[in-house]
Symmetry: C2
Subunit: 334 residues, 2 copies
């Protein structure tokens, strides 16, 4: 079933059918209703390849997700998809490795499929700075800031990762912790987790805390298993730490299990803070003290920013959404 068959059945030309389908004004009521009836009866749907080819507009919005086990990202993604769908936009999701080069993947994707827009869930500023100039479509970086990078087609929406991480350190410090371990992400300087690492390190340095990254920081990917083994390694190396700040809930969740398996009571023997405020932290036993990111706000803002960029004339903007340290059950005073 194609547009010609619909036109024939309805007794109009294909141009008129096209106008009806696309809701254009200059069509008679009679033509509209007759054509709509045929479309309805046949269950006709326009071929999107032909449509996009003609409009030179191409495929749907593409999302690149860093890491496959990050619950925060699935939550945001589901909300973004629902919002996009509400306005008739499709979303194509590509999962990348934690340490993949997201911008390189996006460049290849852009060439092949010409998406309307692109969304990055997680990302490293360094990669954007170096290669994003090859990206022509409207894009939004989510959970990291693109401010200062100077790309007219790249907006961003994020919490202030550095400040939030500093607040975690402040919180632990105020509870008497002096030897604090850091867990997760990589030390790639400008990755989402890297920004948190930076904020935490700076806060420790501000307090003249005895922090030595080589000993007190253990990088790992965003998965429970990686968080588990990373904490084991960290404890082996720095057994005197009294608190651990995991740079993501999924890591904290694995670390919590590792601590318990080591015979450490949390928080009595070891305090633990996560990051993201996902269901993992909320339903875990004990509940994990964490930094809550508002996934709905993140999703809503990203869609809005993308849309503004896609409408000609929209300018890149960098939005900060609020975060909140939620004191739950995995930190106690020293």
């Amino acid at each position: 079933m194609n547009i010609r068959e619909v036109a024939a059945k309805a007794g109009y030309g294909v141009g008129t059918v096209s106008r009806v389908i696309n809701g254009q004004a200059n069509v008679s009521e009679q033509a509209r209703s007759r054509i709509l009836a045929v479309v309805e009866a046949c269950g006709y749907e326009p071929n999107s390849n032909a449509r996009y080819l003609k409009r030179r507009e191409h495929t749907p919005v593409a999302a690149f997700v860093m890491g496959t086990s990050n619950r925060l990202f699935s939550d945001i993604l589901a909300s973004i998809q629902a919002r996009l769908e509400a306005s008739g936009e499709e979303l194509v999701v590509t999962y990348l490795d934690d340490d993949a080069q997201e911008v390189a993947a996006a460049i290849a994707y852009q060439q092949a499929r010409r998406p309307k827009g692109m969304l990055f869930l997680g990302g490293e500023r360094t990669y954007f700075r170096e290669a994003f100039d090859q990206i022509e479509v409207p894009s939004v970086l989510i959970t990291n800031s693109a401010a200062g990078l100077g790309f007219a087609n790249l907006s961003s929406v994020t919490i202030d990762n550095e400040a939030a991480a500093a607040e975690v350190i402040d919180y632990l410090w105020s509870r008497g912790h002096r030897r604090i371990g850091l867990l997760g992400g990589s030390n790639a300087p400008e990755q989402t987790a890297g920004m948190r690492l930076k904020g935490a390190e700076q806060a420790l340095r501000d307090r003249n805390a005895p922090f030595d990254a080589a000993r007190d920081y253990e990088p790992c990917r965003f998965s429970e298993q990686d968080g588990y083994t990373a904490l084991i390694r960290l404890l082996d190396r720095a057994p005197d730490i009294t608190a651990v700040f995991a740079l993501g809930d999924v890591i904290a969740f694995g670390a919590l299990r590792a601590a318990v398996d080591r015979g450490l009571a949390v928080p009595r023997d070891l305090s633990l803070v996560g990051f993201d405020g996902t269901a993992l932290a909320q339903f875990s036993i004990p509940r994990i003290t964490t930094v809550r990111q508002d996934t709905e706000a993140l999703a809503q803002q990203s869609v809005e920013l993308l849309r503004s960029l896609m409408d000609a004339g929209g300018e890149a903007a960098h939005t900060l959404v609020p975060y909140e340290l939620i004191a739950q059950e995995t930190v106690c005073a020293r």
Copy 2:
């Protein structure tokens, strides 16, 4: 940059360029290398809309995921995407509500985008029976069986949900539990969770257990929060149950938290079994006794079945992958 420009730069016709790009044999070595050089230099990538339009082959493989918080599905999905990508196939993911009509969504999608193939993560046999005849593209149902439905273009790969659920009941029974509550999914008869419900109910009936679905079963969606509130409702209604079988880990995880908040020690006061064998069960405190599904096998088989269906001549097949009841820390004897 389009194929005509490449042809002009290389000094050949567009037909020859097309043949080179598509790796066809009947091209001279000289033409191939000259064209490849131009392609390389310009970073040319063929426009996929035009390509798919022409080939009448259309867009990439589409996956429909039932529910947005189901960790099992994200695990399978990541593995499927990696496998597809290895053979140059793209995957487009659509998240649906737990209770959406996946086949209706697929029909609309098929009309609009003509995917090469479709994958369903979760699904209800009833919907397939009623409407799948409108689907023309090769498809695979994952985590539920399509055996007996008789569609030539629908394969399936799943564990035996009924048998696995019966085994859980058997296990709880052998540990002395007589009043067993069931939690999660809907009573839609042939949904993935519904199959488990069916197997569990049958096993209880086989033992003449005093099971009354209206009282001892509480449906809910696949999320921690829903599992949490569902267990509360179940316990309010049937306070004498000694064990709960949650039809998914994500539900069990929320239920575990609810039990503890109610002052029930798990497993001393209440035993709990999950389903799926995800990281949630593996890292939870206590570790949740669960039925492990082999996500890698599920992913590998689905891709294989889909590929066989896409290669002309492939026949629909219905594969059962093994499951394993993993006794962990949330069940004790009565």
